[in-house]
Every structure is written in C-alpha cells, then in structure tokens.
C-alpha cells in the first residue's frame, strides 16, 4: 500500500528542498530561499513551479487569509528513494552493486569518508 511518488524534475527538486528545509512557508519565503542559494532564480518561476508541484501532489497549501502556506505531501526520504530507484534502473539496469562500485571508485571520496563507509557496511552486517 504505497502511495505513488510523483516524478520531480531537476528544478522542482530545488523547490522541494526549499520547502522541506522549513515549512509551512509562503511562496515569497520559498522564492527568497531559492534566490539566496542561486540569484538567478526568478520569483515568477518559483511560483510556477510551486503550482506544478501542487498539481502533481507533491505539495499542498493551506490558505491563511490571502496568503498560501505550502507544505510537502511527500517526504524527502520518499522522494530520494523513488529517484534513486529510477536512476538505478535507468543507468545501471537495476544492478545495485555495480552502481555502488562505480561511486566508490570515483576519486572524490576522502579517506575519512572511506572509513565511514566501512563502518556503515560493518554496522549493516551486524544488523542482520
């Protein structure tokens, strides 16, 4: 009985992150957060995307006077899981291990991160 997670596009992800970071929030607040992270964000664009995300069922709003307060209908975890699945499928044909191997081989992991990952793996083994 799992709810379907709507497909979130690239720029919509940015909007969602802005909402997840603190909510409920007005369109203006959200537009501000986005512009702060990247000044090229136009408020109109933000509003358009908020509308689309509501249509898609990713957000909802409560009306407070003439102001809309947006809140997420899906959690970041759910969206991450869903996007991860589709990425895994698309790029690695669903094979998890090759995917992880690919990322581990990238040169951008610091030695500490490697150690932390080893710990995560170790914990996972114990946890059954």
């Amino acid at each position: 009985m799992k709810k379907p997670i709507p497909r979130i596009s690239d720029t919509e992800w940015e909007v969602m992150r802005a909402v997840w970071s603190r909510h409920p929030a007005t369109a203006g607040e959200i537009a501000d957060r986005l512009a702060q992270a990247d000044p090229s964000w136009h408020p109109k664009t933000a509003r358009t995307l908020l509308g689309r995300l509501v249509e898609k069922g990713a957000l909802a709003y409560d009306v407070d006077g003439r102001i809309f307060l947006y809140r997420p209908l899906v959690t970041e975890q759910e969206c991450i899981a869903s996007a991860s699945d589709s990425f895994l499928d698309r790029v690695f044909g669903g094979a998890l291990k090759p995917m992880l191997a690919h990322f581990v081989e990238r040169e951008s992991l610091s030695p500490e991160e490697v150690r932390e990952l080893e710990q995560i793996l170790a914990r996972r083994k114990n946890r059954r």
Copy 2:
C-alpha cells in the same frame, strides 16, 4: 578538454545499452534486441530514437550499401559518469557520502555483495 556528454533520456538509455552491447549494428538488430528485452518495443519507436541519438551526438552511423550501421560516439562509462553527476547533484545536492550511505542502507544488498563492497573499499585505500 572533455567532450560534452549529451543528455540521454530514460528510453534512450535502453537504446544506448542495446548499441553498446554489440556494435556496429543495424537499426533492425537494435530494434530486435530491444523487443527481446521488452516486447512492447515498437520498431518504429526504436528507429526514431536512433535518429535522435545521432542528432544528439551520442551515436553515429556508417552507410553500408543501403543499410546503416550504428556505433556509439560516447562510451558507457562516460555516460554513466555524466548521469551519475547529475543525479548526485539533483537528489543529494552533490554530497557523495550520504548518497552511498543511502544505498548501502537499502535492504536489497546481499551479504556477499556487502563483502565485495568492503573489498572494493579496502582496495581503494591501498591504491593510494
């Protein structure tokens, strides 16, 4: 001096995989491979996508008589790296470790796979 990797859509990935798996190949062969993996593939659709991938610079063809032999212009590794970057950015805001942690936590890794990953990590440490 890195060549730009074209953006490959979901279904285009399936086509690319079919080409990478054995090439050069005719449109007919590629359509067959796709249909074999998933019978809902229509040959016309495959041909359309081949054309689009050529436009995008992901494939090229050599003409042999009246038949086109398609071959990749980008390697699977390059495409994987490029798609991985964009996924990492979009979904995890570019943070590699949380991303790996997320996937390791998924329940779908078998114990052997966990061991293999540990080995990959270990090798990576030694390798400098």
